[in-house]
Amino acid sequence: MRINCPICGDRDRREFYYLGAADYLNRPAEGDLDGIHKYLHIRENPAGVTKDLWHHESGCSSWLVVERNATTHEIHSVTLASEVAK
């Protein structure tokens, strides 16, 4: 699998660290315990198009939101997380 980093270009999967579902960008309010439980543990886990967070660890060090298909491993889009979170 190769990921097209918006800054570095097309790179091998080995350069990236996978964190998990892009839900991690939606941090719940402090004190919202139910929200924190969902945020940390509950996953939609789709068998199809999914969005997740990858860190370009051995490259530019950007956090990326990768939209891809979890069944075919096809990658649809790669966006800087800082833009998605804006």
Partner: protein, 417 residues
């Protein structure tokens, strides 16, 4: 049909014409007392123990593919009871005891082989951790022996003991650990459940779950609607999709685990061996193939095939532990969909829907759990109360943080196990 030496002899002499299918192929009825979704090891064992231990025989097991086509037929077949934490410890201990009597119980040769398992260590810190784990195993009533370097050498002369980065310091030996023939376990439970009257319905995908007033009514399938007021979801890597049909949220992320097998070789690897540095483990199948694997691919996936970087990592780890491995030709590699939980331990629990139960979150270690999982899930579904050895394995532990079972001590969060 019962299997015994006399049958084998008789059939052998009469052209093997008398064998019957190992289970029936019934049409689904319109209703059952219990429906089990998923005909993997856990679903089949649940159905078997519901019938055997609880006298409930009007059961359908609904399998979307074929019996043995899921992870139960894709794993590396390691069976062990070397867990550390309360909750896991008693559960896997119970499971190993059931393994030891499985062939008699099911009247099926599952080729269970207690060939011994050795987990190697390579640092002083690891030695201490393994000594502690070994004590926990002994306290649980299971077996563990701490081997020093020479002790390991007697069992595993083919290791690279003097590897500069990862010298072998010793190993934790678990003599009752071993392997079994994975699909024979599926066939054995299928055969035994069928004989007790359970309907095994293949090519029948569950596409919806009927819930009315918070109670389960039955399921929709590709072969029509089937009613039951007790339904068990036992679908491993597909847990999220099936739970969502009933509006149930689960703390699961599906990941791929790969495995590899070489051409058949003369017997060389007598045990199951695991490397303590770099994830790698190895055994030899009865056909002679070296069976080995490593870590997850480490991103959510349903592809049932692995990626090349992990393949490379596994080969490198294998070569550093057993340099001779480089002479063998790898024949096949494959992957299975693992239902990963945040703490790396499983769930056998009720859901918010009355009559709907779940058995899931087996991560990469659910083969050894097949008998005890079936036993405990059957107990939960028959009595509506958790079995003693599985009562800590609830959904709620993630919400409350109480009773998390993180064997690796890496934290209770996705992507850490």
């Amino acid at each position: 049909m019962g299997y015994n030496a006399f049958q084998v002899l008789k059939e052998g002499l009469t052209g093997n014409k008398g064998w019957r299918p190992v289970w029936r192929d019934p049409e689904p009825k319109s209703d059952y007392d219990v429906i089990i979704i998923g005909g993997g090891g856990h679903g089949l064992a649940t159905a078997y123990y519901l019938a055997k231990n609880h006298g409930i025989t009007n059961i359908a097991v609904l399998e979307r593919g074929y019996i043995g086509g899921g992870n139960v037929g894709r794993n590396t077949t390691i069976v062990r009871a070397n867990y550390f934490l309360p909750g896991n410890s008693e559960f896997y201990s119970h499971s190993l005891k059931l393994w030891e009597n499985m062939e008699q119980e099911l009247n099926f040769n599952t080729m269970h082989s207690a060939r011994g398992l050795i987990n190697l260590f390579h640092t002083d810190g690891q030695r201490d951790a393994f000594a502690r784990r070994g004590n926990m195993m002994c306290n649980q009533g299971d077996d563990a022996i701490l081997l020093d370097r020479d002790g390991v050498r007697k069992h595993l002369p083919y290791l690279d003991f003097d590897n500069h980065r990862f010298p072998v310091y010793g190993g934790l030996y678990h003599p009752r650990g071993g392997t079994a023939r994975h699909d024979a376990v599926a066939w054995g439970y299928a055969h035994a459940a069928d004989r007790l009257g359970v309907d095994l319905i293949q090519q029948c995908e569950v596409t919806g779950i009927d819930v009315r007033d918070g109670k389960v009514q039955g399921v929709e399938t590709t072969r029509g609607a089937i009613r039951a007021n007790r339904v068990g979801i036992v679908v491993a890597g597909r847990s999220s999709q099936v739970a969502a049909m009933a509006g149930v949220d689960v703390p699961i992320e599906s990941h791929i685990l790969q495995a590899f097998v070489t051409e058949g070789l003369k017997p060389t690897v007598d045990h199951v061996v695991s490397f303590g540095m770099g994830h790698f483990y190895l055994s030899q199948s009865d056909k002679g193939g070296l069976v080995f694997g490593g870590d997850l691919d480490f991103y959510a996936s349903y592809a049932q095939r692995g990626n090349l970087p992990m393949m490379e990592h596994v080969m490198e780890a294998g070569m550093s532990l057993v340099p001779a491995l480089g002479k063998a030709k790898v024949l096949r590699s494959w992957g299975g969909i693992m239902d990963m939980t945040p703490d790396g331990s499983f769930i056998i629990d009720r859901t918010k829907v009355d009559g709907l139960y779940m058995d899931c979150g087996w991560c990469y270690g659910g083969f050894k759990a097949v008998p005890a999982s079936g036993w405990c899930m059957a107990h939960l579904m028959a009595e509506d109360a958790p079995h003693e050895v599985a009562k800590k394995h609830t959904f709620d532990r993630f919400r409350t943080g109480h009773g998390l079972m993180d064997e690796e001590g890496t934290g209770s969060q996705h992507n850490l196990h």
